[in-house]
Amino acid sequence: MDEFTLNLKRQIIARMNLQGVKPEDIVDDAPLFGDGLGLDSIDALEIIVLLQQEYGIKIASAEEGKTVLKSVKTIADFIKQKQA
Protein backbone atom coordinates (compact mmCIF):
# COMPACT_ATOMS: atom_id res chain seq x y z
CA MET A 1 0.00 0.00 0.00
CA ASP A 2 1.50 3.38 -0.93
CA GLU A 3 1.97 6.05 1.71
CA PHE A 4 -0.78 8.31 0.30
CA THR A 5 -3.45 5.59 0.39
CA LEU A 6 -2.32 4.46 3.83
CA ASN A 7 -2.64 7.98 5.16
CA LEU A 8 -6.09 8.43 3.57
CA LYS A 9 -7.32 5.20 5.12
CA ARG A 10 -6.02 6.28 8.54
CA GLN A 11 -7.88 9.59 8.20
CA ILE A 12 -11.12 7.82 7.25
CA ILE A 13 -10.79 5.37 10.16
CA ALA A 14 -10.13 8.22 12.62
CA ARG A 15 -12.90 10.49 11.41
CA MET A 16 -15.52 7.73 11.18
CA ASN A 17 -14.36 6.40 14.53
CA LEU A 18 -14.11 2.90 13.06
CA GLN A 19 -12.80 1.21 16.16
CA GLY A 20 -11.00 -2.06 15.58
CA VAL A 21 -10.55 -1.42 11.85
CA LYS A 22 -6.99 -1.21 10.53
CA PRO A 23 -5.88 0.31 7.17
CA GLU A 24 -4.99 -3.14 5.84
CA ASP A 25 -8.60 -4.28 6.53
CA ILE A 26 -9.92 -1.80 3.94
CA VAL A 27 -9.62 -3.07 0.36
CA ASP A 28 -8.76 -0.18 -1.98
CA ASP A 29 -11.55 -0.67 -4.49
CA ALA A 30 -14.17 -2.23 -2.20
CA PRO A 31 -17.41 -0.18 -1.80
CA LEU A 32 -17.33 2.08 1.24
CA PHE A 33 -21.10 2.46 1.54
CA GLY A 34 -23.92 -0.01 1.96
CA ASP A 35 -22.25 -3.41 2.43
CA GLY A 36 -18.51 -3.58 2.78
CA LEU A 37 -17.43 -1.01 5.32
CA GLY A 38 -21.07 -0.07 5.94
CA LEU A 39 -20.73 3.70 5.92
CA ASP A 40 -23.86 5.81 5.48
CA SER A 41 -24.88 9.23 4.17
CA ILE A 42 -23.67 11.07 7.26
CA ASP A 43 -20.26 9.43 6.85
CA ALA A 44 -20.31 10.62 3.23
CA LEU A 45 -20.72 14.20 4.48
CA GLU A 46 -17.87 13.65 6.92
CA ILE A 47 -15.58 12.50 4.11
CA ILE A 48 -16.57 15.55 2.07
CA VAL A 49 -15.54 17.72 5.04
CA LEU A 50 -12.31 15.72 5.36
CA LEU A 51 -11.47 16.41 1.71
CA GLN A 52 -12.00 20.09 2.28
CA GLN A 53 -10.09 20.38 5.51
CA GLU A 54 -7.18 18.03 4.80
CA TYR A 55 -6.80 18.44 1.03
CA GLY A 56 -8.46 21.79 0.28
CA ILE A 57 -10.87 20.17 -2.17
CA LYS A 58 -14.48 21.28 -2.21
CA ILE A 59 -17.32 18.99 -3.24
CA ALA A 60 -20.34 21.17 -3.90
CA SER A 61 -23.17 18.67 -3.69
CA ALA A 62 -24.12 15.24 -2.45
CA GLU A 63 -24.55 14.14 -6.11
CA GLU A 64 -20.95 14.94 -6.96
CA GLY A 65 -19.99 13.15 -3.76
CA LYS A 66 -21.73 9.93 -4.82
CA THR A 67 -19.37 9.22 -7.72
CA VAL A 68 -16.21 10.35 -5.95
CA LEU A 69 -16.80 8.48 -2.70
CA LYS A 70 -17.41 4.97 -4.07
CA SER A 71 -14.17 3.49 -2.73
CA VAL A 72 -10.83 4.52 -1.24
CA LYS A 73 -9.37 4.21 -4.74
CA THR A 74 -11.89 6.60 -6.35
CA ILE A 75 -11.30 9.11 -3.55
CA ALA A 76 -7.52 8.82 -3.87
CA ASP A 77 -7.69 9.24 -7.66
CA PHE A 78 -9.96 12.26 -7.26
CA ILE A 79 -7.57 13.94 -4.82
CA LYS A 80 -4.54 13.31 -7.02
CA GLN A 81 -6.43 14.61 -10.05
CA LYS A 82 -7.45 17.80 -8.23
CA GLN A 83 -3.96 18.38 -6.88
CA ALA A 84 -2.25 17.88 -10.23
Partner: protein
Protein backbone atom coordinates in the same frame (compact mmCIF):
# COMPACT_ATOMS: atom_id res chain seq x y z
CA UNK B 1 -57.06 5.70 35.97
CA UNK B 2 -54.04 4.23 37.75
CA UNK B 3 -50.51 4.76 36.44
CA UNK B 4 -47.60 2.42 37.13
CA UNK B 5 -43.84 2.56 36.74
CA UNK B 6 -43.19 -0.87 35.25
CA UNK B 7 -39.51 -0.60 34.52
CA UNK B 8 -36.75 1.93 34.84
CA UNK B 9 -33.04 2.46 34.38
CA UNK B 10 -30.84 5.03 36.05
CA UNK B 11 -27.39 6.16 34.92
CA UNK B 12 -26.07 8.67 37.42
CA UNK B 13 -23.06 9.58 39.56
CA UNK B 14 -24.15 6.65 41.74
CA UNK B 15 -23.56 3.03 40.58
CA UNK B 16 -27.32 2.43 40.34
CA UNK B 17 -27.59 1.13 36.79
CA UNK B 18 -27.17 -2.55 37.53
CA UNK B 19 -29.98 -3.51 39.90
CA UNK B 20 -29.41 -7.24 39.48
CA UNK B 21 -27.26 -7.24 42.58
CA UNK B 22 -27.59 -5.33 45.89
CA UNK B 23 -26.93 -1.64 45.34
CA UNK B 24 -24.05 0.13 46.91
CA UNK B 25 -23.50 3.82 46.58
CA UNK B 26 -21.72 6.79 47.92
CA UNK B 27 -23.94 8.74 50.25
CA UNK B 28 -21.66 11.74 50.26
CA UNK B 29 -19.92 12.42 46.97
CA UNK B 30 -16.57 14.13 47.27
CA UNK B 31 -16.03 17.24 45.22
CA UNK B 32 -18.65 19.32 43.47
CA UNK B 33 -18.42 17.87 39.95
CA UNK B 34 -20.40 14.64 39.79
CA UNK B 35 -20.17 12.70 36.54
CA UNK B 36 -21.96 9.45 35.77
CA UNK B 37 -20.82 5.95 36.53
CA UNK B 38 -21.35 4.57 33.05
CA UNK B 39 -22.12 0.98 32.06
CA UNK B 40 -20.24 -1.02 29.45
CA UNK B 41 -22.13 0.10 26.36
CA UNK B 42 -20.75 -2.70 24.19
CA UNK B 43 -22.93 -5.07 26.24
CA UNK B 44 -26.03 -3.04 25.53
CA UNK B 45 -25.66 -1.45 22.10
CA UNK B 46 -24.46 -2.49 18.64
CA UNK B 47 -20.78 -1.46 18.24
CA UNK B 48 -21.50 -0.21 14.71
CA UNK B 49 -24.03 2.22 16.16
CA UNK B 50 -21.77 3.15 19.05
CA UNK B 51 -18.98 4.55 16.90
CA UNK B 52 -20.86 7.69 16.02
CA UNK B 53 -22.78 8.22 19.25
CA UNK B 54 -21.83 11.01 21.58
CA UNK B 55 -21.67 10.27 25.29
CA UNK B 56 -25.08 11.68 26.10
CA UNK B 57 -26.73 9.67 23.35
CA UNK B 58 -25.08 6.48 24.61
CA UNK B 59 -26.32 7.24 28.11
CA UNK B 60 -29.85 7.94 26.85
CA UNK B 61 -29.98 4.88 24.61
CA UNK B 62 -28.64 2.55 27.31
CA UNK B 63 -31.08 3.87 29.88
CA UNK B 64 -34.10 3.93 27.56
CA UNK B 65 -33.61 0.46 26.11
CA UNK B 66 -32.82 -1.02 29.53
CA UNK B 67 -35.97 0.48 31.04
CA UNK B 68 -37.99 -1.22 28.32
CA UNK B 69 -36.35 -4.59 28.78
CA UNK B 70 -36.80 -4.39 32.56
CA UNK B 71 -40.47 -3.56 32.05
CA UNK B 72 -40.58 -6.62 29.83
CA UNK B 73 -42.07 -4.64 27.01
CA UNK B 74 -41.07 -4.14 23.41
CA UNK B 75 -44.29 -2.31 22.66
CA UNK B 76 -44.45 1.34 23.54
CA UNK B 77 -46.86 3.96 22.25
CA UNK B 78 -44.84 7.09 22.96
CA UNK B 79 -41.30 8.27 23.67
CA UNK B 80 -41.04 11.52 25.64
CA UNK B 81 -37.72 13.01 26.70
CA UNK B 82 -37.02 15.94 28.97
CA UNK B 83 -33.68 17.74 28.78
CA UNK B 84 -32.65 21.19 29.93
CA UNK B 85 -29.28 21.65 28.29
CA UNK B 86 -29.62 19.17 25.45
CA UNK B 87 -26.59 17.67 23.81
CA UNK B 88 -23.91 19.97 25.12
CA UNK B 89 -20.71 18.18 24.16
CA UNK B 90 -21.61 18.27 20.49
CA UNK B 91 -22.98 21.81 20.69
CA UNK B 92 -19.74 22.88 22.34
CA UNK B 93 -17.63 20.99 19.82
CA UNK B 94 -19.40 22.49 16.80
CA UNK B 95 -19.36 25.97 18.29
CA UNK B 96 -15.69 25.68 19.16
CA UNK B 97 -14.77 24.63 15.64
CA UNK B 98 -16.90 27.39 14.17
CA UNK B 99 -15.07 30.00 16.19
CA UNK B 100 -11.64 28.58 15.56
CA UNK B 101 -9.69 30.02 12.62
CA UNK B 102 -9.59 26.64 10.87
CA UNK B 103 -13.43 26.45 10.88
CA UNK B 104 -13.14 22.65 10.79
CA UNK B 105 -16.83 22.01 11.53
CA UNK B 106 -18.24 18.54 10.94
CA UNK B 107 -21.82 17.43 10.25
CA UNK B 108 -22.01 14.72 12.92
CA UNK B 109 -21.51 17.23 15.74
CA UNK B 110 -24.25 19.46 14.37
CA UNK B 111 -26.73 16.61 13.89
CA UNK B 112 -26.06 15.32 17.40
CA UNK B 113 -26.27 18.77 18.98
CA UNK B 114 -30.03 18.95 18.53
CA UNK B 115 -32.02 18.49 21.74
CA UNK B 116 -34.26 15.83 20.21
CA UNK B 117 -31.35 13.66 19.08
CA UNK B 118 -31.69 11.35 22.09
CA UNK B 119 -35.39 10.60 21.70
CA UNK B 120 -34.94 10.28 17.93
CA UNK B 121 -32.10 7.81 18.24
CA UNK B 122 -34.17 5.59 20.50
CA UNK B 123 -37.04 5.76 17.99
CA UNK B 124 -34.70 5.03 15.09
CA UNK B 125 -33.26 2.00 16.88
CA UNK B 126 -36.74 0.65 17.63
CA UNK B 127 -38.13 1.57 14.20
CA UNK B 128 -40.79 3.34 16.24
CA UNK B 129 -43.45 5.36 14.38
CA UNK B 130 -45.54 6.69 17.24
CA UNK B 131 -45.66 9.86 19.33
CA UNK B 132 -42.23 11.32 20.03
CA UNK B 133 -41.69 14.54 21.96
CA UNK B 134 -38.74 16.37 23.52
CA UNK B 135 -39.39 18.98 26.17
CA UNK B 136 -36.65 21.44 26.99
CA UNK B 137 -38.06 23.74 29.65
CA UNK B 138 -34.92 24.05 31.76
CA UNK B 139 -35.35 22.85 35.35
CA UNK B 140 -38.92 21.76 34.66
CA UNK B 141 -38.24 19.74 31.51
CA UNK B 142 -38.67 16.35 33.17
CA UNK B 143 -41.85 17.24 35.04
CA UNK B 144 -43.31 18.62 31.82
CA UNK B 145 -42.33 15.43 29.98
CA UNK B 146 -43.96 13.37 32.73
CA UNK B 147 -47.07 15.55 32.45
CA UNK B 148 -47.24 14.87 28.69
CA UNK B 149 -46.84 11.12 29.32
CA UNK B 150 -49.56 11.00 31.97
CA UNK B 151 -51.91 12.96 29.71
CA UNK B 152 -51.51 10.36 26.95
CA UNK B 153 -52.13 7.50 29.36
CA UNK B 154 -55.07 9.18 31.05
CA UNK B 155 -56.81 9.78 27.71
CA UNK B 156 -56.26 6.24 26.55
CA UNK B 157 -54.02 7.46 23.72
CA UNK B 158 -51.21 5.26 25.01
CA UNK B 159 -50.91 2.15 27.14
CA UNK B 160 -47.13 2.17 27.59
CA UNK B 161 -44.99 5.29 27.50
CA UNK B 162 -41.21 5.57 27.67
CA UNK B 163 -40.47 8.84 29.46
CA UNK B 164 -37.18 10.17 30.70
CA UNK B 165 -35.00 13.03 31.84
CA UNK B 166 -31.40 13.51 30.75
CA UNK B 167 -28.66 16.12 31.05
CA UNK B 168 -24.89 16.06 30.82
CA UNK B 169 -22.21 17.95 32.70
CA UNK B 170 -19.28 18.85 30.51
CA UNK B 171 -16.11 20.45 31.83
CA UNK B 172 -16.99 23.68 30.03
CA UNK B 173 -20.47 23.76 31.52
CA UNK B 174 -19.13 23.08 34.99
CA UNK B 175 -16.69 25.99 34.69
CA UNK B 176 -19.42 28.33 33.45
CA UNK B 177 -21.93 27.29 36.10
CA UNK B 178 -19.40 27.92 38.84
CA UNK B 179 -18.63 31.37 37.51
CA UNK B 180 -22.32 32.21 37.32
CA UNK B 181 -22.86 30.90 40.85
CA UNK B 182 -19.95 33.02 42.13
CA UNK B 183 -21.78 36.10 40.89
CA UNK B 184 -24.97 34.88 42.56
CA UNK B 185 -23.14 34.28 45.85
CA UNK B 186 -22.27 37.95 46.07
CA UNK B 187 -25.98 38.71 46.07
CA UNK B 188 -26.62 35.90 48.56
CA UNK B 189 -24.02 37.37 50.90
CA UNK B 190 -25.48 40.86 50.66
CA UNK B 191 -28.86 39.43 51.53
CA UNK B 192 -27.52 37.68 54.61
CA UNK B 193 -27.83 34.14 53.29
CA UNK B 194 -25.38 31.37 54.03
CA UNK B 195 -22.79 30.39 51.43
CA UNK B 196 -24.04 27.76 48.99
CA UNK B 197 -22.78 24.18 48.84
CA UNK B 198 -23.99 23.10 45.40
CA UNK B 199 -22.76 20.02 43.65
CA UNK B 200 -23.15 19.95 39.87
CA UNK B 201 -24.23 16.68 38.34
CA UNK B 202 -25.65 14.84 35.37
CA UNK B 203 -27.64 11.74 34.63
CA UNK B 204 -30.39 9.94 32.83
CA UNK B 205 -33.46 8.12 34.02
CA UNK B 206 -35.95 6.53 31.67
CA UNK B 207 -39.15 4.91 32.94
CA UNK B 208 -41.82 2.82 31.30
CA UNK B 209 -45.21 4.05 32.49
CA UNK B 210 -48.28 1.93 31.97
CA UNK B 211 -51.95 1.67 32.80
CA UNK B 212 -51.40 -1.97 33.78
CA UNK B 213 -48.99 -3.08 36.54
CA UNK B 214 -46.46 -5.89 36.48
CA UNK B 215 -44.96 -7.77 39.44
CA UNK B 216 -42.36 -5.06 40.04
CA UNK B 217 -44.48 -1.93 39.70
CA UNK B 218 -44.57 1.20 41.80
CA UNK B 219 -47.65 3.37 41.44
CA UNK B 220 -47.72 7.09 40.67
CA UNK B 221 -50.63 7.96 42.92
CA UNK B 222 -50.64 11.66 42.34
CA UNK B 223 -48.85 14.22 40.20
CA UNK B 224 -49.32 17.97 40.36
CA UNK B 225 -47.42 20.86 38.87
CA UNK B 226 -47.92 24.53 39.55
CA UNK B 227 -46.62 27.71 37.97
CA UNK B 228 -46.43 30.74 40.28
CA UNK B 229 -48.96 29.29 42.74
CA UNK B 230 -50.17 31.05 45.85
CA UNK B 231 -49.48 29.47 49.24
CA UNK B 232 -52.98 28.03 49.55
CA UNK B 233 -52.60 26.15 46.27
CA UNK B 234 -49.24 24.78 47.34
CA UNK B 235 -50.57 23.51 50.64
CA UNK B 236 -53.54 21.83 48.98
CA UNK B 237 -51.08 19.56 47.15
CA UNK B 238 -50.08 18.01 50.48
CA UNK B 239 -53.56 16.95 51.55
CA UNK B 240 -53.46 13.35 50.39
CA UNK B 241 -49.97 12.54 51.64
CA UNK B 242 -49.79 10.43 54.76
CA UNK B 243 -46.71 11.12 56.83
CA UNK B 244 -47.13 7.96 58.85
CA UNK B 245 -46.22 5.57 56.07
CA UNK B 246 -44.25 7.89 53.96
CA UNK B 247 -41.15 9.97 53.56
CA UNK B 248 -40.62 13.25 51.79
CA UNK B 249 -37.94 13.73 49.16
CA UNK B 250 -36.82 17.29 48.44
CA UNK B 251 -35.04 18.76 45.45
CA UNK B 252 -32.93 21.09 47.57
CA UNK B 253 -29.60 21.73 45.92
CA UNK B 254 -27.44 23.58 48.42
CA UNK B 255 -27.97 27.00 46.85
CA UNK B 256 -29.19 29.03 49.81
CA UNK B 257 -31.52 31.26 47.78
CA UNK B 258 -33.04 28.22 46.03
CA UNK B 259 -33.42 26.18 49.21
CA UNK B 260 -35.37 28.93 50.93
CA UNK B 261 -38.26 27.85 48.71
CA UNK B 262 -38.48 24.64 50.69
CA UNK B 263 -38.81 26.17 54.14
CA UNK B 264 -42.63 26.28 54.01
CA UNK B 265 -42.88 22.51 53.46
CA UNK B 266 -39.98 21.54 55.70
CA UNK B 267 -41.75 23.12 58.64
CA UNK B 268 -44.65 20.72 58.12
CA UNK B 269 -42.68 17.49 58.36
CA UNK B 270 -40.37 16.28 61.07
CA UNK B 271 -36.79 16.00 59.89
CA UNK B 272 -36.47 12.29 60.37
CA UNK B 273 -38.88 11.70 57.47
CA UNK B 274 -37.34 14.09 54.98
CA UNK B 275 -34.46 13.53 52.61
CA UNK B 276 -32.78 15.23 49.70
CA UNK B 277 -31.62 13.57 46.51
CA UNK B 278 -29.41 16.15 44.85
CA UNK B 279 -26.48 15.39 47.16
CA UNK B 280 -26.37 12.01 45.37
CA UNK B 281 -26.84 13.10 41.78
CA UNK B 282 -25.88 16.77 41.82
CA UNK B 283 -27.89 19.66 40.47
CA UNK B 284 -28.91 19.61 36.82
CA UNK B 285 -32.16 20.53 35.07
CA UNK B 286 -33.66 17.02 34.93
CA UNK B 287 -32.39 15.87 38.35
CA UNK B 288 -36.02 15.35 39.49
CA UNK B 289 -35.99 12.23 37.28
CA UNK B 290 -33.30 10.82 39.56
CA UNK B 291 -35.40 11.82 42.57
CA UNK B 292 -38.31 9.89 41.11
CA UNK B 293 -36.19 6.83 40.36
CA UNK B 294 -34.67 6.90 43.84
CA UNK B 295 -38.08 7.19 45.47
CA UNK B 296 -39.46 4.24 43.48
CA UNK B 297 -36.36 2.24 44.41
CA UNK B 298 -36.93 3.06 48.09
CA UNK B 299 -40.47 1.72 47.89
CA UNK B 300 -39.11 -1.42 46.24
CA UNK B 301 -36.66 -1.73 49.14
CA UNK B 302 -33.47 -1.80 47.08
CA UNK B 303 -31.72 1.30 48.42
CA UNK B 304 -29.33 0.54 51.28
CA UNK B 305 -29.94 2.48 54.50
CA UNK B 306 -26.38 3.76 54.31
CA UNK B 307 -27.54 5.89 51.37
CA UNK B 308 -31.03 6.81 52.56
CA UNK B 309 -31.76 5.99 56.19
CA UNK B 310 -35.32 4.85 55.65
CA UNK B 311 -36.83 1.39 55.76
CA UNK B 312 -40.23 -0.10 54.92
CA UNK B 313 -41.13 2.92 52.85
CA UNK B 314 -44.71 2.67 51.57
CA UNK B 315 -45.13 6.14 50.17
CA UNK B 316 -42.89 8.96 48.99
CA UNK B 317 -43.82 12.55 48.32
CA UNK B 318 -41.29 14.19 46.02
CA UNK B 319 -41.29 17.96 45.99
CA UNK B 320 -39.12 20.00 43.66
CA UNK B 321 -39.12 23.74 43.19
CA UNK B 322 -37.35 25.32 40.22
CA UNK B 323 -36.54 28.99 40.01
CA UNK B 324 -39.13 29.78 42.68
CA UNK B 325 -41.88 29.69 40.07
CA UNK B 326 -42.28 26.04 39.07
CA UNK B 327 -43.39 23.50 41.67
CA UNK B 328 -43.93 19.78 41.30
CA UNK B 329 -45.38 17.20 43.67
CA UNK B 330 -45.18 13.51 42.87
CA UNK B 331 -46.67 10.95 45.24
CA UNK B 332 -45.48 7.40 44.77
CA UNK B 333 -46.74 4.34 46.56
CA UNK B 334 -46.83 0.58 46.57
CA UNK B 335 -49.29 -0.94 44.11
Amino acid sequence: MRIFINGSACISPQPFFDCSKPLEGVSECVGDKLNCVEPDYTQLLDPRMLRRMSRIIKIGMASGLSAMSRANTSEIDAIITGTGFGCLEDTSSFLGKMIDASRAMNPTSFIQSTHNAIGSQIALHLRFNGYNNTIVHSGFAFESALDDALLLLKNGEAKNVLVGGIDELTQDLYTLLKRIQDIKERSNKINGRQASTIKYGEGCVYLVLSDTPNSDSVEIKEFNTFYKPDQKTLESALKSFSQENGIVMFGKNGDSSNDESYSWIESKYSNRNTFSFKNLCGEYPTAPAFGLWLSAALIKGIIPTSIIAAQNVNEVLIYNCFDNDYHSFIRLGKC
